[in-house]
């Protein structure tokens, strides 16, 4: 390798390490909302990608409005957009739960088909509202470019941001699930719905809140992904398969499992990509996931239950 010094090589290794972590946080962020909905409720939300897209479009709208009416706030609008994405995606989630999902809790495979129909409808609504072409939110300067600790190391700022957001969000979700009253109710409902109902938990309300929370988190993820990806009617569909694999590979009912599986998949893919072409890396990663799932159908982490 001509023209590459040892220190430069070291820098690239370091950046590659960071890349693995960055891919990990992206995977985790896209899977988190899904993991909550799927893990806690057993509902397969095929429209998860479209909830990501809601977040992305919300960011675009915020960016557009800020640019038009409050140009001075351009540097901070993004934070509001994230909150807005959570609220907006959550509200749509509330509506969808009320109209659709609550009728299908007993039929997980049917909820899959219905949410597939939902995703078609949502895509068309995006297209009719925002046009078929992609749009791009103007990002604040502090989210663009790279941070250079040395001459040869470039750490992507958007990667850092997504990573930070993922950590904060994961901790919040963890605290919520394991420390709050509602979280306790959610876990109780997951483990024994009948019993939870019997001790006075309004399981219908808990389900609704769970779904709204999952959708809201998807919205946040979508907002964050405007920094690294596209915003268009079908952008969400780019993420859906990866998100499902992450959740299933981790073991559906365990947040820790989702964490571990996102880490494993991200590191495998990112490392393989460094040594071979991207298509091959993807195939090998997917094949390994399937092989492991065949050996451990319940995923990496799962709650052991006496059958």
């Amino acid at each position: 390798m001509e023209g590459i010094s040892i220190s430069e090589f070291g820098s690239i290794l370091m950046m590659q390490g960071f890349n693995g972590l960055s891919v990990f946080s992206v995977l985790l962020l896209m899977a988190l909302g899904l993991a909550i909905i799927f893990g806690q409720m057993g509902v397969i939300n095929m429209a998860h990608g479209e909830f990501l897209t809601i977040g992305a479009y919300t960011t675009f709208v915020f960016s557009y409005l800020t640019q038009t009416y409050f140009p001075s706030l351009m540097s901070t609008y993004f934070l509001f957009a994230i909150v807005g994405a959570f609220i907006f995606a959550g509200l749509v989630g509330l509506l969808v739960e009320w109209l659709l999902i609550r009728h299908l809790y007993k039929r997980p495979l049917d909820s899959l088909l219905a949410t597939w129909g939902l995703s078609l409808i949502m895509q068309q609504i995006f297209r009719s509202t925002f046009g078929a072409k992609e749009v791009s939110a103007t990002l604040p300067d502090w989210l663009m470019g790279s941070w250079q600790p040395t001459d040869t190391i470039d750490i992507p700022l958007n990667g850092l941001f997504v990573m930070g957001l993922t950590i904060v969000l994961t901790c919040l979700v963890g605290l919520f699930m394991y420390r709050s009253r509602l979280g306790l109710k959610m876990r109780a409902t997951t483990q024994n719905r009948v019993m939870a109902g019997a001790v006075g938990i309004n399981t219908a309300m808990v389900d609704r809140m769970t779904f709204v929370l999952g959708c809201g988190i998807a919205g946040v993820a979508g907002a964050a992904f405007t920094t690294i990806g596209s915003t268009g009617p079908t952008s969400g569909s780019l993420y859906i398969v990866d998100a499902f694999l992450t959740v299933v590979f981790g073991g559906a009912q365990s947040l820790l499992g989702t964490l571990a599986s996102a880490f494993t998949i991200a590191q495998t893919n990112s490392t393989l990509e460094f040594f071979m072409t991207g298509s091959m890396a993807k195939v090998i990663t997917l094949l390994s996931i399937i092989a492991i799932l065949m050996m451990r159908p319940e995923g990496l982490f799962s709650i052991k239950v006496r059958k």
């Binding site: 590659q16 297209r127 072409k133």
Partner: protein, 413 residues
């Protein structure tokens, strides 16, 4: 500077000619409205006042992002033609079908347009895959397709007029320019994993190695829809190429450019030449993410000539002031005009006669300047290099001579 002046005068001269021609055509159309039995001997859907054409693009699915511009441009062209008297005195009616980003659907709809609707011509397709899917149907049913996208070449059909550039037109002039201007010797080829990027990179590699005497230090393909390019960017950094030659498309495109920028790869440190970014793509990528990088295209919205000014104004009047026009959109706009010219030259809507009349048809009113149909059904056209600005427009900094289309280039296969 001199080039610019020359271009200006030429454009001006041409626009005069254009005006005269248009007047002539209108007069002709009004004067003569030949009987249908004479202009339609093969049972196409032509009446004394109307002629039906098909439009076959993806209005839904992932490709709608790209194909919407073509749909709009073709409709604009047809509207303008109708306003100026139509074709052979007949108004053009459009039957629009949705290919839904799905190749089998394209085949189904193409067949419907040709067999059921008996349309006189079809303006449509975007991806090579959709064209390959409909090609046998057009050949079997003897239809006529105007295909707008720049593509990999290696194809020539009696039933297709290719209004975009074939690969050599787009690639070779761009590489020559970058080698000369930037003294580039080492290239890193990157593409989405399908036939157009692979074939284009193959041509690029041959040209780099055999003609430019440079080296290709890497060639990488990522699945369509891939969104994580961190590893690739690190690999590129490892090789330090003079030029990154990029043919990443579709959903991946935005991720690729945003992540390049985030990894500190900016125009002041790295030269990137791409043949897959037009104004349409920049809309999604954001001008700030491609600022300073180069695209090789035959058309940019910012082209400074009278034809283009009129075209851009008309397009914005119809589709809003924020509408943008990319290379393919312009090429799609050419389709109806080229068809009209060929039909009028042939004096008939019959596909065989229109096809026979097509070679040699010139369009001096083309927004890109001037095009002419080659006997191989591709267009003579120029290749331009544009450097992207923050506002999402490109500044044209180089313009080649008219390039002869060569879909089966010797020495590049």
């Amino acid at each position: 500077m001199i080039g610019e002046i020359q271009r200006f005068t030429r454009a001006k001269g041409k626009s005069l000619a254009v005006g005269a021609l248009a007047l002539l055509a209108a007069a002709q159309a009004l004067a003569s409205n030949p009987p249908t039995s004479q202009v339609n001997t093969t049972g196409l859907r032509v009446t004394d006042t109307e002629v039906y054409v098909g439009q076959l693009h993806s209005a839904t699915g992932t490709m709608a992002i790209s194909e919407t511009g073509s749909i709009q441009a073709e409709q604009l062209a047809i509207e303008q033609i109708n306003a100026s008297g139509g074709v052979l005195g007949r108004q053009i009616k459009i039957i629009q079908e949705d290919g839904a980003s799905d190749w089998p659907t394209f085949a189904e709809k193409a067949k419907k347009l040709l067999v059921n609707d008996r349309v006189a011509a079809v303006f449509g397709c975007w991806t090579s895959a959709s064209r390959k899917a409909v090609l046998p149907i057009f050949e079997k049913e003897n239809g006529l397709l105007y295909y707008p996208t720049f593509y990999e070449g290696l194809e020539q059909s009696k039933n297709v007029i290719y209004t975009g550039q074939e690969a050599t037109q787009q690639i070779i002039a761009g590489l020559d320019w970058i080698a000369k201007e930037k003294g580039a010797k080492t290239f890193y080829l990157v593409g989405s994993d399908y036939i157009w990027p692979r074939t284009s990179n193959k041509i690029a590699r041959k040209h780099i190695e055999n003609v430019l005497k440079g080296t290709v230090v890497g060639e990488e393909y990522y699945p369509l829809g891939h969104t994580q390019f961190g590893s690739l960017i690190n690999k590129i950094k490892l090789k330090k190429p003079d030029v990154i030659y990029s043919i990443v498309v579709g959903g991946s495109n935005v991720a690729w450019w945003k992540q390049l920028k985030a990894a500190g790869i900016t125009a002041d440190k790295q030269t990137i030449l791409t043949i897959s970014v037009t104004e349409d793509e920049v809309l999604g990528i954001g001008g700030e993410n491609v600022e300073g990088f180069y695209s090789a295209m035959k058309y940019f919205q910012s082209l400074d000539n009278e034809n283009n000014k009129k075209f851009v104004a008309a397009f914005k009047a119809k589709y809003g002031p924020n509408a943008v026009i990319g290379d393919v959109t312009q090429a799609a706009y050419l389709g109806p005009w080229l068809w009209k010219a060929a039909v009028e030259k042939a004096g008939s809507f019959d596909v065989d006669k229109v096809v026979a009349a097509s070679p040699g048809i010139e369009l001096t009113t083309a927004p890109e300047g001037y095009v002419k149909i080659h006997p191989n059904h591709h267009l003579w056209s120029k290749t331009r290099i544009g450097v992207w600005q923050r506002n999402g427009q490109a500044k044209v900094i180089f313009e080649s001579d008219l390039i002869e289309p060569d879909p089966f280039p010797k020495g590049y296969q």
